[in-house]
């Protein structure tokens, strides 16, 4: 079997992997994206019932690579965010009008995002989606060589590992990770409600962890319910009526009587950070490099910023004629992304620890903290721009510029 050769091979055709592949291919690089799942499977509703919070900065990346127009109709704008501490009188309120006309972000169902990414990939002749296809082995030398499950080989200058938090490529490259589990489970489901949400996202800090209500299209909201790991199995095993009552109790009645739509999903919450994002001819992106607590809804946004930064390093490097795995390019990517990711990982971990407890002095302090943020406009605007993903040394795509 002849060995095919591309410039960049992306292993993992999830949201980050496809975004990276499309970004690089739309700038002219020859790219292959490999995924072990059949595209027909991952585009089905049952594969992934989750939603993603797309920060303003991430929307600009998706717009810059031609994906956003294909999904914008199915994205619900977040116009306000209310942060409510468990039954405390004080709450924090972010309104997008305080900093401009643009929404703070959007909520999109993952299946719609996946379909938009696949449609866009199909428009790019220099992007080849190889799926379903498992990668058996990766060898790194004068080029990187992937051995595929069908016995074929694929050579590339650089391999981008977008193969998730258990990243086999990261493990094979012996990149160590710092990791821990949270004693929490994330429960995800969708509800319909009679009253319109008016683009308001609500984050309730309950003792077991944050309970988020995220506005979706069509008078629906996505629930991201963080629950004590010991209690979660019992909740997940409840019959529909009992589950609905538990949910409504936490949700409140501000949008009327809710009805649960579709299945319940659950996943363990963990933290992971790779000690290095790069190795010779290998770069990690998204959850292969970092998994953070979903408290701020920033996991995918960090991944999208990784892809925008890596695509920029690679395209800038190729415009100088450099090998895509040139040490200076990979070092630039790592330097660029580690700081942002480590900082947000620390903030989300700290927030979770701060809010997921009922020790009275901590509770008073955090209520005062929320009040302080609410009453100091510059600080509040900074937090809002942070939530929008518009802080820091931004990749060109995040700034709304061409790659």
């Amino acid at each position: 079997m002849a060995t095919a050769r591309v410039e960049l091979a992306v292993v993992g055709g999830g949201l980050n992997g496809m975004t990276l592949g499309i970004a690089c291919a739309s700038a002219g690089l020859r790219v292959a994206v490999l995924d072990r799942e059949d595209p027909a499977t991952i585009l089905s509703e049952r594969f992934d019932g989750r939603t993603s919070a797309i920060a303003y900065g991430s929307m600009r990346v998706l717009a810059g690579i031609g994906v956003w127009p294909l999904v914008a109709d199915q994205a619900e704008a977040i116009l306000e965010i209310r942060v409510v501490d468990n039954s405390a009188p004080l709450f924090l309120h972010y309104d997008h009008r305080e900093i401009g006309d643009e929404p703070l972000g959007w909520i999109v169902e993952n299946r719609h995002l996946r379909r938009a990414l696949h449609d866009r990939a199909g428009q790019l002749p220099n992007l080849e989606l190889i799926a379903p296809m498992a990668v058996e082995q990766a060898d790194y030398g004068a080029a990187a060589t992937l051995t595929l499950a069908d016995g074929g080989k694929l050579q590339a200058e650089l391999i981008a590992a977008a193969d998730g938090k258990n990243s086999p490529l990261r493990e094979a490259a012996r990149i160590r990770t710092v990791t821990w589990s949270y004693p929490q489970i994330g429960i995800v489901t969708t509800v319909r409600h009679p009253k319109p949400h008016r683009g308001v996202a609500v984050e309730h800090f309950l003792p077991a962890g944050p309970f988020a209500i995220l506005p979706m299209t069509d008078s629906r909201s996505s629930i991201v319910w963080t629950e004590d790991a010991g209690l979660a199995p019992a909740l997940l095993a409840l019959d529909d009526g009992a589950f609905h009552r538990e949910l409504q109790r936490r949700f409140g009645d501000f949008l009327g009587e809710i009805s649960v739509e579709g299945p319940r999903w659950s996943y363990p919450l963990s933290f992971l950070h790779a000690t290095s994002y790069i190795a010779p001819r290998l770069a990690l992106v998204g959850e292969a490099a970092h998994v953070i607590h979903p408290i701020a809804g920033q996991g995918l946004n960090l991944g999208i910023r990784d892809t925008a930064a890596l695509a920029e390093c690679l395209v800038d490097g190729r415009r100088l004629g450099l090998d895509l795995a040139d040490a200076t390019l990979l070092a630039r990517y790592q330097r660029w992304r580690r700081f942002d990711n480590v900082m947000l990982a620390g903030v989300t971990d700290g927030l979770n620890r701060l809010f997921s407890n009922t020790v009275p002095p901590i509770k008073v302090a955090r209520d005062l903290g929320l009040a302080a943020v609410a009453h100091i406009p510059p600080l509040k605007r900074l937090f809002m721009r942070h939530a929008m993903g518009m802080i820091g040394d931004l990749p060109r795509l995040v700034r709304g510029e061409a790659l």
């Binding site: 050769r5 002219g28 080029a143 200058e157 190729r318 100088l320 004629g321 090998d323």
Partner: protein, 247 residues
């Protein structure tokens, strides 16, 4: 072979010894690899402007030829090939040329490498759209003869780009005392200050060969940000571009 006289055997022996690790990011050419993106950007931008090409396209120089004098292991020849030039790389040592050939093969790049002095290439009458001699002239015993040969290889309308170290007090302090003896960026004995050339000396020689100085820029190290950048300060490392006026 008279042409061979313009090569310093001690330099060639030293470079041959280092050849196997020329592409090692932590090896003896690490400083060159760190400088590379900055000087490649200068070369690309200047040549794109000269030849009316789009520097943002991925292969702006398709259809043009380039000679890289003192190509070493291909740190510049390979990028120039990716940018579309048909590249010929020459260097004086077989060991270095063999290392360069092996590396280009691994990268699937078609580059013509020859262990040949520039004077002999010039004697054949070949010309190239672009001629590069980066960090070479400070290793050559007779720089004027070298420059005459290099200039004669530039095709009408083409360009010659040189980079070297300036023969100033700071060139000595930073280029030799700091880089070789204190920081250990390059092996001791790599440079001889007396062979450093001032930009005015290069420009005068090139002008006599019919080439006009078009650009000159300094390359300096920013210790705070730990990176190299182009500056107007040409007292230590600098790049010049001279062009053949006829189109």
């Amino acid at each position: 072979m008279a042409a061979q006289s313009n090569i310093d055997d001690a330099d060639i022996a030293r470079f041959a010894e280092q050849a196997p690790q020329w592409w090692d990011p932590h090896g003896t050419t690490k400083p060159l690899q760190r400088i590379n993106p900055v000087r490649l950007a200068f070369i690309r931008d200047r040549l794109a402007a000269r030849f009316g090409r789009d520097a943002k396209s991925l292969r702006p120089f398709a259809g043009l030829t380039l000679l890289d004098i003192g190509s070493g292991a291909g740190l510049v020849a390979e990028p120039m090939t990716r940018l579309g030039f048909a590249v010929t790389g020459i260097d004086a040592g077989d060991a270095v040329i063999n290392a360069a050939r092996a590396h280009a093969e691994g990268a699937a790049l078609a580059i013509t490498y020859r262990a040949e002095p520039v004077e002999r290439v010039a004697a054949k009458g070949n010309q190239f759209n672009a001629v590069l001699a980066l960090e070479v002239i400070e290793h050559v015993p007779d720089p004027d003869a070298f420059l005459r040969a290099a200039a004669s290889l530039v095709a009408p309308g083409g360009a010659l780009i040189l980079s070297t170290l300036n023969r100033t007090a700071r060139g000595f302090v930073l280029g030799i005392v700091a880089a070789e003896r204190i920081l250990g960026w390059v092996p001791r004995g790599t440079h001889d200050w007396r062979r450093f050339r001032r930009p005015s000396e290069l420009a005068a020689t090139l002008r006599r060969q019919g080439l006009l100085l078009e650009a000159m820029v300094g390359l300096s190290y920013d210790p705070i940000r730990d990176r190299w950048q182009l500056t107007s300060d040409i007292a230590v490392n600098y790049l010049i571009m001279a062009v053949h006026p006829h189109r």
